[in-house]
Structures are given as structure tokens and as C-alpha cells.
Amino acid sequence: MSGLLKFITCGSVDDGKSTLIGHILYDSKLLYADQEKALELDSKVGSRGGAIDYSLLLDGLMAEREQGITIDVAYRYFTTEKRSFIVADTPGHEEYTRNMAVGASFADLAVILVDAKQGVLVQTRRHARICALMGIRYFVFAVNKMDLVDYSEERFKEIVAQIQELSEELHLASVKIIPVSATEGDNVTTHSDNMPWYTQEPLLAYLENIDVSEKKQEEGFYMPVQRVCRPDHTFRGFQGQIESGAVSVGDTIVTLPSNEHAKVKSILVGDKDAQTADAGRPVTIQLDKEVDVSRGCVLAKDTKLPVSKKFTATILWMDDEELTVGKDYLVKLGTRTIPGILKNIQYKIDVNTGEFIPVGRLRKNEIAVCDLVLQEEIVIDAFAKHKTLGELILIDRISNMTSACGVVENPTLDETKDLKCAFAHGNLKANGDIFEEYYYDLEAMNVFKVQPSDKTYTIGDVIPVKGETYQYPDSFDVVVLREQVAVSIRDQKVTAIIPLADFAYNDVPVINGRGFAVHVTSAADVDAFKKELSAEGREISENFFNKWVDFETYRRIVFKDEHWTE
């Protein structure tokens, strides 16, 4: 049979999604008698009064029933003759976006409600975007309240066109659109006589028949190790869940990140010996030789998995506290938990419109593309390639809150290659942080930076010596310590890009790679600077910076109010 279907329902405040699911349970006689009794009782004492209020089935928390809204995800279970279902009913309000994301991360399919009178709204776009971000590939748009538009086929077609547009924008893989009325029961569990023009399956039949395994295929076999099982010295097995593919006794696998090869000696599925095991199974794998593998490592076959410490991810911020760039978090990815720093926000994605907005901070329920750096290299891949190795959460190290979740876009961010606004000449490359802008956010009361647009300058190019928050002289030299490169600017033009080792004092001001003045006014100063620098080692100390470098000479901080966009 089709197996278990986990799906999520999303809709706005009055779209009636709880009513829709309540109706499925009620119509299918899936309600136990005493739940039905409690439901009627609740309806009568509740302020809405009168007829049965199906949404009371799902809004389980006291605060929710008092306010008549859904705050948190509720899980409901039902089985028809054809299939077992778990449905996550999620809140529609923007302030509960993170709770919707919880439901979406759990589901294989999303049922998104659209009000037939209102059509596709910003919240419809937000719901679809969050579901797609969290990895849902199957979408059903239930165009609800068809009874209120006289079951008009014409109106339905208008909405279908709006949904198709949205689907193209978000690259949704599989989309089904069904006209329904949740309160009247049209096309919910049975075909509606009110809409003879709709001849396809009603909602429940569609959910019973859809195969959601097909778009889950991933390359090769991989299993993140949860724990090492060592009951005695004769047995050493790696326990975990197979995330894709299959493995058999005798197969040669690779261990990552240690990159050793070994043969599979035995496989246990649960407590039973097996010759082979496939995706989804909880297994214990013994190898034919000693390998350097512990929790957080990955066993793999027939696929190449990147090992990296710098990567780019799209994250959803879920904490009441704002995201702080440069703060370190615990990153959990696969079965590995490791300290990491959120280095940079590339841009925010407006959850409603999809617009890219440069920002310096991120608030609850906002999405952004960010660069992260981990303490050490781990096995990691793009969410689109190997899902489990591309899912992550950020944990606040003090509050322990799950501050964000995210999906990996690019597992191997190469700073020399992906440098933005770089100086380049031949093999020499240097970052362009001198063009960063510094702002003071009046609402958050903190300082943030905005990265320059990606532009590369080489010899002969004119550079912008004046920005909104900086003003350099027309001629100066830049010493970029990180890449060990020096750049000469004369009359606003790049005239030389050379290794830092070859740099000598030229009677022009010297500025470091971040646009801070360097206190050197003679060749002797430069020699002293270089000498002290080489004594600093890899991590340059604050003492060195405070002695040699000065922020205020060419830069200042500009005030910005709350809704700053470019």
C-alpha cells in the first residue's frame, strides 16, 4: 500500500483549514464517539455557539480556544481503507511562521488553503515559500469557500492562473488545485454535485493515492553515525539511519571525514541480521577493519559528499532575540553538533514577496541567506542534493533556544573564489571590505555593516573613493593582511596589485583591507609595522590593531532608522 502520508495544512486566519480537516475526520467517521461528544459540548459552551464547530477538534490549547485561533502545530492521526495519515495543522499568522515551519519540516505534502473570494494573498505566498524552503515537494491548493462564489468555474480558473504563477516563481515540483467548500463538504471526501465542471478527484481521494517517494531519490548510499555500539571488545558497530540508497554485506564504503575505505562485515536492521538494508532503516553496521569513526561521521557509497567548514545557507530566524552577526552558535547538522559563527548576512528574503533586501540584522520569522563558518570541517552537502546533510539548526549557547533552522545552499564556500568586490590581478586577489558601509540602527541600537556589491577591480579601473560612510583620499595604498596583497590607488585608479611582501612606503596614506587608517608615515614605520605583524602569528591581537590602526580617519557611522532598504 501507499504507506504513511505526512502532510501539513496551511491557511490564513479565516481560511477554514481546521474546519477542512475536522470535516475529513467527521465525514470519514474517523471520530471516536466521545471526541464527538466533547466537540459538541465545547461548541455549546464556547462563544461561537450553535452548530458544530469542527475547528475545535484541532485547536487543543486553552489559549487557542479562548482566542479562536491556532497558535501551535497540532498533529492528528487518521486511517482510511487505503492509507494512514498524519496531519500537522499549523497556524497561519505571520507571527507564528516558525511554528508553521515546524509542521512543514515534518511533512511530505502541503495542503494550502486559498479563499475563493480573495484569491492568492501575500500569506498564501508566504505559506508556499516556507513549505518549499523546508523541503516540501508536493503541493495541493484547496480553493476553499467555493459556496460563497456560487461555485463559479470562472472564478476558479482565475485563481488557478494565480497559483500557476506562484508555482513557477517558487519552482514547485508537483502542484494540484482542487475547488472545495470545507463547511459544506464539497469535494472534501466526496465529489461535489455543486461543481459538475470539476471532474477530477476530491481532496481525500487525491491524498490517498499520491506517491510522494518518487521525488525523494538521492544519489548513492549515506548514513550519518548516531552512536558507536560496543557491547564488548569483539563487536564495534556503527548505528544510524540509512538516509538514501542501500548497503549490502561485502560493499566497500568510505568513512567521512576520515576518508578511509572498508568493507561491510555485517548489518543488523534493529536486532535482526540482514544481508542488505535500504533507505529509512535503523541499522548497525560492522566494518572489516578499524576506522576513525564516531558520532557525527558519515558512512557513504556511490556518491561524493563534500567535507567543509565554510558554507552558505538560507536560514529562518526563530528566536525572540535578534540574530547577531559574528556571534557563535552551536550548529547541529546530521548527527554532528559543533560550534560555528554566523559570519555574514548576504541578504534577507521578504517572506511575502520574495524580494532580496540587504540587512544587518534579522528578526523572528525572517529568512536570509547567510555565510557560516564552523570550528572544524564536517560532512555537509546542499539540501537539494543530500537533504539530511543540508538541514541544520542553530542553538543559542546561553539560552539553549533553537534560534534558527536552515538549509545549505552551497556547502563549500570558497572565500578566495567567492570574494565579493575583490581586487584581482593575475593570481593575486584581495577582498574589497574597504567598500563596506557602517550603519547605526536606531531601533535595534546596534551597529551593522552592509557588504558592497560584487564587483572586481583590476589595474586601470576607477574605484569609488567616496561612499555613504567612508571617504578616502584620491591616492593611497591598501594593505590587505588576510590575503597578503597590497593595492596602489593613484588619482582614484588602481595602478598596482602586488604581494604584501614586496610592498614599500610610497609617501601616500596607507589603509588596511577594512578601510582603517594605518599609522605609518615613513619607510621605517612600515618596517616596524611589518616586523610586529609577522610576530603576531595567525590571529592578530587587539593590541596590534589598537596600536597601528584607526577607524575614524576615513570612516564614520551613519544613522539608519528601522525600515532601511536599499
Binding site: Y32, D42, G60, D72, G280
Partner: protein, 299 residues
């Protein structure tokens, strides 16, 4: 890719969760209530670590009012599987003579809720597995798989940590603890079908047999020992009775049934007209009673 059967998918999810807790939490324990859900949990724990034994102890909070057959089953099971079974009794409650007849909801609080808190504090457990399922009750339907408790063991339903994919966040501060519900997504039918498929031993009280019972407040109550005093008009009858859930015998209503095999139980369950918790007296009191008690520290 072949798709896992529904039971295989639920089993894999539970084993994954149990292994994560063992790998990440400092001092886990598995709550063991002797009921069918606990039997499934114990079975999953044995499978999850095989050939190792589960790397944590099991805890039974004994109210001293459990069915005799339950205690016998508990001791035999622990011995057979070679696991570490801890029994905890609120001795202060026993001394004060707290019993289900005279103390009502206070009894549940003192002998179950307080006893559990005392036991968790005594041993310093940081994570406790429970067999709660989301299909049991409305407030449970909203609870996460990893559910956090403050130093008073209270639950804050309005401020639950988001739980994404299967990336469980097990970090806690000193004094806080986690309740972990690996079989959150199972239904009662799933439990029975799994018990049958895996041939899991359960307490014989689940099967119908002739038992001495009385009818009290619309419930069929078994007379398990002489501490149950008959009220005027009550008389002991022998009826074919089985239990859908097991707890303290004076508070657990049986149902009349002839189901003596798992297949018959599953048939009865599938056609059940009353969901299982109606036979537990405490739940029907008022809408939201379970949520209120959970906030106060009930498991």
C-alpha cells in the same frame, strides 16, 4: 526506493529518537508504567541498541495501587531482559495514607506527579522517555517530541522550542529536564498491530477473562485486593472483562469483552466507539484538565 511500511516508518522514527537521546543526554531514564505503550517502548529500546543493552535504567513510579498482575509482570520482564529497573514510591504519601478513594485528584498529584518529580530529582535524571502519544488527548496533540520542563518540572505550552526535521535540540540548563516521547506519532491501533507483529509480551489484563468486578460511577472496576471497600448496593460479580489501559486498579475502568487474542483486540480497537482515555476517570473532568496538570508537572 522502496517505501517503508507504515509500522516500519514509525519504528525507525522511534529508534532514531531513542538513539539520539542516549548519544546526547547526560543522564537519561525510560519511564516504565507496565502498560502496553511501555512494553512497546521497552521493545524499541532493546532493538535500538542491540547487541548492547539499553544504556540507561528504567523507572517505575509505583503508587502502591497497581494491579498485582502488573507488578509481577514488571519483575519478570526486568529479570528476563537483564535491564536495570528502578521502583520509586512516595513513602511520605504512603505514611499519610493517601489513597484513591478518599483523596480524589490529590491522590494522583501526590502519588504520581509528586512521586515522579521526587524520583527524577533523587537520581538527577536529565531526560526521561515517556510513552505519551499525540492521539490520546488534545493538549498532547500539540506537544513536541522533545518537551522541556523547568526546574519545577512544569511545561510551558505557549513557548515550545521549534523542532525541525529530526534535528532534536537536547541542550538544557542546570535543573531543567526533558521529556522525550518517541512514539508521539503512533495511534492505539499502531501499538496493537506492532505488539502483534513483534510478538511483544504484555500484561494478561489486556485480554478478556473472568474477573471479579463491581460497577461504580458508570465504570467497571476490578476488585484486585481487599483495600477496595464496597459501598452500599455494590456487589462483586464475575464478568468477562479486559482493560484498554492499565493504571491504578481503583481508577481504571474495564470493558466487557470476549477478546482473548491480539486479533480480537485489534478488531475491537478498530471499531471502537470510545477513544481509550474515557476509561481513565481523570480526563473528563473539564476541557483542558490534562493541559493544566501537565503545566503543573504531570508527565
Amino acid at each position: 526506493m522502496s517505501q517503508l511500511s507504515h509500522l516500519d516508518a514509525l519504528e525507525a522514527e522511534a529508534i532514531y529518537i531513542i538513539r539520539e537521546v542516549a548519544a546526547e543526554c547526560e543522564k537519561p531514564v525510560m519511564l516504565y508504567s507496565i502498560g502496553k505503550d511501555s512494553s512497546v517502548m521497552l521493545h524499541l529500546a532493546m532493538k535500538a541498541f542491540y547487541p548492547e543493552k539499553p544504556p540507561f535504567p528504567f523507572l517505575h513510579v509505583n503508587t502502591t495501587w497497581k494491579f498485582k498482575e502488573m507488578i509481577k509482570f514488571r519483575d519478570e520482564t526486568a529479570k528476563k531482559l537483564g535491564i536495570n529497573m528502578i521502583e520509586y514510591i512516595n513513602e511520605d504519601g504512603v505514611k499519610r495514607g493517601i489513597n484513591p478513594f478518599d483523596y480524589g485528584s490529590q491522590y494522583t498529584d501526590i502519588m504520581k506527579t509528586q512521586a515522579l518529580k521526587q524520583a527524577l530529582n533523587k537520581y538527577g535524571f536529565t531526560a526521561a522517555f515517556g510513552g505519551g502519544r499525540r492521539d490520546e488527548e488534545k493538549s498532547r496533540a500539540k506537544e513536541r517530541i522533545f518537551s522541556f520542563r523547568n526546574e519545577n518540572h512544569a511545561w510551558d505550552p505557549k513557548n515550545q522550542r521549534p523542532e525541525m526535521w529530526k534535528l532534536y535540540n537536547s541542550k538544557i540548563n542546570k535543573g531543567e529536564s526533558i521529556r522525550v516521547f518517541p512514539i508521539s506519532n503512533w495511534t492505539e491501533t499502531d501499538i496493537w498491530e506492532y505488539i502483534k507483529r513483534e510478538n511483544i509480551d504484555i500484561v494478561p489484563l489486556y485480554f478478556a477473562a473472568k474477573r471479579p468486578v463491581i460497577e461504580r460511577d458508570g465504570q467497571i472496576i476490578m476488585v484486585d485486593d481487599d483495600r477496595l471497600k464496597l459501598r452500599p448496593g455494590e456487589k462483586i460479580e464475575y464478568k468477562n472483562v479486559r482493560f484498554r489501559t492499565l493504571g491504578c486498579y481503583p481508577l481504571t475502568g474495564g470493558i466487557e469483552s470476549n477478546a482473548t487474542t491480539l486479533d480480537e483486540i485489534i478488531d475491537e480497537t478498530l471499531s471502537a466507539v470510545e477513544s481509550e482515555r474515557t476509561t481513565r476517570v481523570i480526563d473528563n473532568e473539564a476541557a483542558g484538565s490534562m493541559e493544566r496538570r501537565k503545566r503543573e508537572g504531570y508527565f
